[in-house]
């Protein structure tokens, strides 16, 4: 009998798994189900992981970045959501976790996790961005990749109870204007939240992209304040105290305040303003040849929906409106895409988001003109990637 086709072809061609050969993984059974029961990415994606900052002297008060340059779509898988902790990730037994709600309320209450999960539930897809995202980019282009420059950014479907529902259960007193939110981590992280936000769209969540919150995202309970700077969205949430005044915690005085050129500092700058970034092609990518590419990126606004994204390939001289992936949700990452033909030579790629308030993402110089170079947080400027004539892509200022 002659050789079977697959072996004959394998013998006739050196290039292993490419056509006309039948690849080796077709010729034998693969891995069984539940390999493992909770799955993980292919080993060929081992490079797609969060990366550390090198700016912090400890690794428990530190941050790590989401690998945006390798991602597609608008959901951040839970394993890649960026981290920012001030006292490490606690290992909390949910049966021994409580939420205390007290202060200027009719009835102070303690909830256990099972009780919190029984309240009416809502889910919403919302972005999460550290207000320190992009902070290395004020003076010169520093990050090599979009993970370095914009990786303190993620977007998940969060599920939990509206904070307003819990507040009504306790009965908020008339003069109450602020809420202190406190975490159960070693930093006992605290921020003051305006009552208006608490009664608007604030959530107390226990689930993230369908499953329980991840430990580094506040398991078993965290605050979600859609569109607010990440630090306010207290993780490992254990306590909410209602008050008539802000608490002036270290994270809203020493940190997360924005120093202006005159020496004054802005305080309670909560909202993450409209921002966008091209994720493909972006720093570290290489275009293999001239021809068709789709320019792709993400846009978001803490004030509501992104209504438009423009893209420039000449450093901001001319712009074309990109296509947005729908449904566009408020305060959520929104994917934009624009077809492009790279003709070789250098190109300067930029994107510019516009949100439903009409706010237009500014240039870096426009921000610096107002804020100087020492405000640290809230750099939401237009990012430029230069494609050089060899196809390499790098971070530049124009």
């Amino acid at each position: 009998l002659p050789l079977p086709i697959s072996q004959a072809l394998a013998a006739s061609n050196g290039s292993g798994n490419l056509a006309p050969n039948v690849p080796k993984w077709t010729l034998t059974q693969g891995e069984p189900i539940l390999s493992p029961p909770y799955g993980h990415p292919s080993r060929f994606e081992d490079g797609v992981v969060r990366t550390p900052t090198d700016l912090t002297p400890t690794k428990t008060s530190s941050w790590s970045f989401t690998p945006l340059q390798d991602m597609n779509g608008t959901i951040t898988p839970n394993g890649l959501v960026f981290e920012r902790h001030h006292g490490g990730v606690p290992d909390i037994d949910p049966d021994q976790h409580q939420l205390m709600l007290h202060g200027m309320v009719e009835k102070p209450i303690i909830f256990d996790m099972a009780e919190i999960k029984r309240f009416p539930q809502v889910s919403m897809k919302r972005f999460l961005e550290c207000s320190g995202n992009t902070l290395t980019e004020w003076k010169q282009p520093t990050g090599k990749t979009v993970q370095d420059t914009h990786g303190l950014l993620s977007c998940c479907e969060w599920t939990g109870v509206r904070l307003s529902t819990l507040l009504r259960a306790a009965g908020v007193r008339d003069k109450a204007k602020w809420i202190l939110a406190e975490g159960a981590d070693a930093a006992a992280m605290t921020r003051s939240i305006p009552m208006e936000k608490a009664l608007d769209d604030a959530l107390v969540v226990y689930a993230q992209n369908g499953e329980a919150l991840r430990p580094e995202q506040g398991y078993p309970l965290r605050l979600i304040l859609p569109g607010f700077e990440g630090n306010t969205q207290i993780k490992w949430l254990r306590r909410l105290e209602v008050s008539d005044a802000p608490y002036m915690t270290r994270e809203e005085t020493s940190k997360y305040t924005d120093l202006m050129p005159d020496g004054s500092a802005r305080q309670f700058t909560y909202v993450m303003e409209a921002k966008s970034v091209i994720t493909f092609p972006s720093g570290g990518h290489t275009l293999p040849e001239k021809g068709f590419y789709e320019i792709r990126g993400l846009a978001w606004s803490g004030r509501g929906k992104v209504t438009r994204v423009d893209v420039s390939v000449d450093g901001g001289r001319n712009w074309t409106q990109a296509k947005l992936e729908g449904p566009v949700e408020p305060k959520a990452l929104t994917a934009f895409r624009l077809p492009w033909r790279w003709k070789g030579g250098s190109a300067l790629l930029q994107s510019r988001a516009i949100d439903e308030t009409g706010y237009v993402q500014p240039t870096l110089q426009a921000l610096i003109d107002v804020r100087g170079l020492n405000s640290v947080y809230h750099l939401n400027a237009i990012q430029t990637w230069e494609v050089s004539s060899d196809g390499g892509v790098s971070n530049v200022h124009v």
Binding site: P57, T58, S61, H86, G87, M100, L101, H102, P108, I109, I110, F111, R118, F119, A169, L180, A186, A187, A188, T190, R238, R239, E241, A245, P246, Y247, M248, R250, T253, S254, T257, M260, D262, G263, S264, A265, R266, Q267, F268, T269, Y270, D310, G315, G316, R317, N318, W319, R352, I354, V360, Q361, T363, Q365, A366, L367, V370, L373, N374, H378, T384
Partner: protein, 169 residues
């Protein structure tokens, strides 16, 4: 909408007392006890200076001292002394988060004392100072009025020019 879900139970005063550790500018919640600058120096040397330096300036971790007059410069130095608007925040933060590896391990007396010492290193209180629930909230920090609220943003008014725009900046 204001349905009584009957979930959760009333928190007792004792339970609240155990967790209600914050110290806002009013001083509400400051415990009994007190601490002096010299006592604070002892605490600091034993528990803080390995990370923050003997002078509060030269440690591996956050600088706690100095920087006055630099905020409007090109190289601002933000510390407890130059930047923090309230002394209560220092008590609050040191008790809740310091020393880094043993948060909430300092007693009220120790916390008052080391707070006094850090303020003294910054020239805000003199060596003879003893702090307690009464005196701490009254300290006027140098940068008390340095903060702007509410948030003045949007602070740039960019236009969405489409063609032949002024590139870049």
């Amino acid at each position: 909408q204001d349905e009584d879900y009957g979930l959760g139970r009333e928190a007792t005063d004792k339970e609240i007392a155990g967790w209600n550790i914050d110290v806002p500018p009013s001083g509400e919640g400051l415990p009994d006890g007190s601490g002096s600058v010299p006592e604070g120096k002892e605490v600091y040397q034993a528990q803080c200076q390995s990370c923050h330096g003997a002078d509060g300036k030269s440690g591996q971790m956050d600088r706690l001292v100095g920087g006055k007059g630099t905020l409007a410069s090109d190289s601002p130095v933000k510390t407890v002394g130059s930047y923090w608007p309230y002394a209560t925040t220092l008590y609050d933060y040191v008790h809740r988060a310091m020393p880094f590896h043993s948060p909430q391990s300092l007693s009220p007396d120790q916390t008052y004392a080391v707070t006094a010492y850090v303020l003294h290193l910054n020239g805000i209180v003199d060596e003879g100072t003893t702090l307690d629930a009464n005196s701490l909230p009254k300290i006027k920090m140098p940068n008390r009025d340095g903060f702007v609220r509410p948030d003045p943003r949007p602070d740039v008014d960019a236009e969405a020019c489409m063609s032949d725009c002024k590139s870049g900046k």
